[in-house]
């Protein structure tokens, strides 16, 4: 049984690596670092939110929903303390040759820096419950919200707590585990 399963995994892996099959991502829980050389997005809705359980350990974040977008040269690093193993870092790189394409992404970031960029169709101040740019992403009533029809940002670095991608099409995924604590930045 393991043999046919391994073959099936190989076939799936090839399909995903070729971009024929869109992989679906949803990560959250601990902070991870993301850097990218360029992000383009179409249909962005954003409003302040929080991640975490009870009110005292809730972490304030900026929630951003993106209808569709591309990311070039993306690096994601996640540092996790494992019992018996110690600190371990996972570093994922992709999109160096061809940008990743994603749809219906929702990201919770608590820090973000960008070198520069351009946003069009900005409506900063629209109530979060009436945002329309990213389908399905609306906030609580009475919260300050921002939406834009397109956005381009360069040299982006962010510390995020959750990233949920409806679908993500990627090519050439490099995953690296290390114990040296090497991170994206």
């Amino acid at each position: 049984m393991l043999v046919p399963c391994t073959l099936a995994v190989g076939a799936l892996g090839i399909a995903i690596a070729q971009g024929a099959l869109a992989a679906s991502f949803a990560v959250s829980g601990s902070a991870f670092k993301v850097s990218a050389s360029e992000i383009t997005a179409e249909g962005v809705s954003s409003f302040p939110s929080s991640v975490g359980g009870s009110a005292n350990d809730a972490r304030p974040v900026l929630l951003a929903g993106v209808k569709s977008g591309t990311v070039s040269d993306v690096c994601v690093s996640l540092k996790q303390r494992l019992p018996l193993v110690g600190d371990i870092t996972m570093l994922v790189r992709s999109g160096a040759d061809k940008p990743l394409e994603g749809t219906n992404l929702v990201v919770n970031a608590d820090a973000l820096t960008g070198g520069g960029g351009r946003v069009t169709g900005v409506e900063a101040g629209r109530d979060a419950s009436t945002l329309t740019a990213a389908p399905g992403v609306t906030g609580p009533r009475g919260t300050f919200g921002v939406q834009a029809s397109t956005a381009v940002a360069r040299d982006v670095r962010s510390t995020a707590y959750a990233a949920n991608g409806g679908t993500l099409t990627l090519e050439k995924l490099e995953i690296e585990f290390s114990r040296t604590g090497k991170q994206c930045f």
């Binding site: 304030p60 608590d110 069009t120 900005v122 009436t130 009475g142 949920n164 679908t167």
Partner: protein, 558 residues
């Protein structure tokens, strides 16, 4: 090669298991647990459950968010539930393992496409390994109960088990030496281990057909030497095969414990480890009593209990309650008191340091200060979200009365949020500015907010700083902006205006929206308007394009 690897692994497993068996405490308890374990595909269940837990641990988020995200997060939950349920089936209904293992294998494969490449491959791999183990698992044909404590019991059962075990032992002998030879030929580095495996296999197999003691002179390495020592005390096949099985179980236990501990957050390794290795002590040791005791399930509670803190930790959403009227009014009450001292003292000092001496004049309103200190009672109108109760003002929410063509773009029509951020900028320069005066914007809760409305053909902001307080948290954005064709709506504006051509700055003046009559049919056009040390209550920015640089966004608790 494949058989060689398998043989080597089984030898390694036996050695480690032997050592563990001697080291670990509570042999009687472990023996009882061992019996329960062997009547079902126990380690298959452990792997499958661990895979399911790992898979769902990645995307756990507040439930509304997971639902919003859709496929990625929810399929992780669904697949991991299938895997965990399958694992429980392996534990409690082992007779249905065939079908269930196919289901869990397919679920694991599906997870690769739907959830994070199958939990970054780890959860999928664990699920596939467990499914395969369960698929291949067969109940032990030997009647159970041979593990009675004490050597007598072992020896008594020995002959009964002999035929079955002998076949296995001779099989091992047949394959192991041959593969060991190839291993030695191909791989000089592994020759040492291969020789050890060879000797050990011969030592195990030897007593079967020949009936001579173990410890054949050919090997003389670790495992064989120990087998020889054991043959002195017992020397029967039943015991050695029993030890081999226990050794394999022990290694599986070790790997599974490591995996489970890795999948479960660091806070709960203790229950997981205890669940696999030992038991609370006061248990009887009649082993025929054990297999059917439901509370004996050590690992099933381990991972599942271990995982439950994880959803608990991030499960309940705490969405910011900024929208609730109480929260908003509290924030509004805070604002003037908090802003009072800083508005006059600290801010002017800060502005002075950066921009040269700045004097902040009292606000020019006397009626409404838009949140800044002013004489008389607290202003009502400019408080965020408050509805202006002016019965005479019938122009609200209607298009402004325009005499002639009103320049610039029409007023924004979509609902705004009643809570608005405070913004600052070192300098704010508007080219081609059109000052529309005051107008009203509809808020989402049916009210309206009176704002100053300025359009600019191009607006350049240096060190623009945005600070939004909502529900106990603060979002700050620092950025340099260059915005063509922008409409800005503010509740109030403070700053020192630079007089063109003279390049002289006025003292800082403060204009609240409420002193300006709403919807005047006039608009003032200025070719250039430069304001320094700006503070404003920014309600809305409506722009076609925003060029930004040096962006920094931070979130923090208040």
């Amino acid at each position: 090669m494949f058989t060689f690897v398998l043989g080597l692994l089984s030898e390694l497993a036996r050695e480690t298991g032997d050592r563990l068996d001697r080291v670990l405490p509570a042999p009687r308890l472990r023996r009882s647990l061992r019996h329960w374990r062997r009547t079902r595909p126990f380690w298959a269940a452990a792997w499958v459950i661990a895979g399911g837990v790992e898979m769902v641990a990645l995307p756990l988020a507040p439930l509304p968010l997971m639902i919003k995200v859709g496929v990625g997060a929810m399929s992780a939950v669904g697949i991991s539930l299938v895997l965990i349920a399958g694992g429980l089936f392996f534990l409690f209904r082992p007779e249905q393992r065939m079908f269930v293992s196919v289901v869990t294998a397919i679920a694991s494969l599906t997870s690769m496409a739907t959830t994070n490449l199958g939990g970054f491959g780890i959860g999928m791999a664990a699920g596939l390994i467990g499914s395969s183990m369960a698929f291949g698992w067969l109940p032990d044909p030997v009647p159970e109960g041979e593990d009675a404590p004490g050597g007598d019991g072992d020896r008594a059962h020995g002959p009964r088990r002999a035929p079955v075990r002998e076949a296995g032992a001779t099989g091992a002998e047949r394959t192991a030496p041959g593969t060991a030879r190839t291993g030695a030929g191909h791989d000089p580095g592994g020759a040492d281990r291969a020789a050890g495996a060879d000797g050990a296999a011969r030592a195990t197999g030897a007593p079967g057909p020949a009936g001579v003691p173990d410890g054949t002179p050919s090997s003389g390495r670790g495992a064989a030497a120990r087998d020889g020592g054991r043959s002195k005390e017992g020397g029967d096949r039943a015991r050695s095969s029993f030890r081999r099985r226990s050794a394999r179980g022990a290694v599986l236990a070790v790997t599974s414990v490591v995996l489970v501990a890795a999948a479960v957050p660091a806070a709960v390794p203790a229950p997981a480890a205890r669940g696999s290795d030992g038991f609370p002590s006061p248990w009887p040791t009649f082993e025929w009593h054990w297999p059917w005791e439901p509370p004996d399930v050590p690992t099933a509670p381990g991972p599942s209990e271990g995982s439950s803190p994880t959803p608990g930790g991030s499960g309940p959403t705490s969405t910011p309650s900024a929208g609730s009227p109480s929260g908003r009014s509290a924030a509004a009450d805070d604002e003037p008191s908090g802003g009072t001292p800083s508005g006059s003292g600290e801010e002017s000092g800060k502005g002075g340091g950066a921009r040269g001496a700045q004097v902040t004049l009292p606000c020019l309103t006397g009626i409404d200060t838009g949140g800044l200190p002013g004489p008389g009672p607290e202003p009502e109108d400019a408080v965020p979200g408050e509805v202006a109760e002016d019965p005479g003002d019938l122009t609200a929410l209607r298009p402004p009365i325009v005499v002639g063509d009103r320049p610039g773009r029409p007023r924004a029509t979509y609902p705004i949020s009643p809570g608005h951020p405070e913004v600052r900028a070192d300098t704010l320069t508007a080219y081609g500015a059109i000052i529309h005066g005051a107008t009203h914007l509809p808020t989402v809760d049916g009210g309206r907010l009176k704002v100053l409305w300025v359009h600019a053909d191009r607006l350049v902001a240096d060190d623009y700083s945005f600070r939004l307080k909502a529900g106990g948290q603060v979002q700050t954005i620092d950025v340099d902006l260059d915005i063509p064709q922008v409409d800005i709506y503010v509740t109030r504006l403070t700053g020192s205006i630079t007089i063109p051509f003279l390049d002289v700055r006025t003292p800082r003046v403060c204009v609240g929206a409420d002193i300006v009559p709403a919807n005047l049919p006039v608009a003032v056009r200025l070719p250039e308007l430069s304001v320094a040390a700006v503070e404003a209550g920014q309600v809305l920015v409506d722009a076609e394009t925003v060029d930004f640089s040096d962006l920094t966004v931070r979130s923090g608790n208040r």
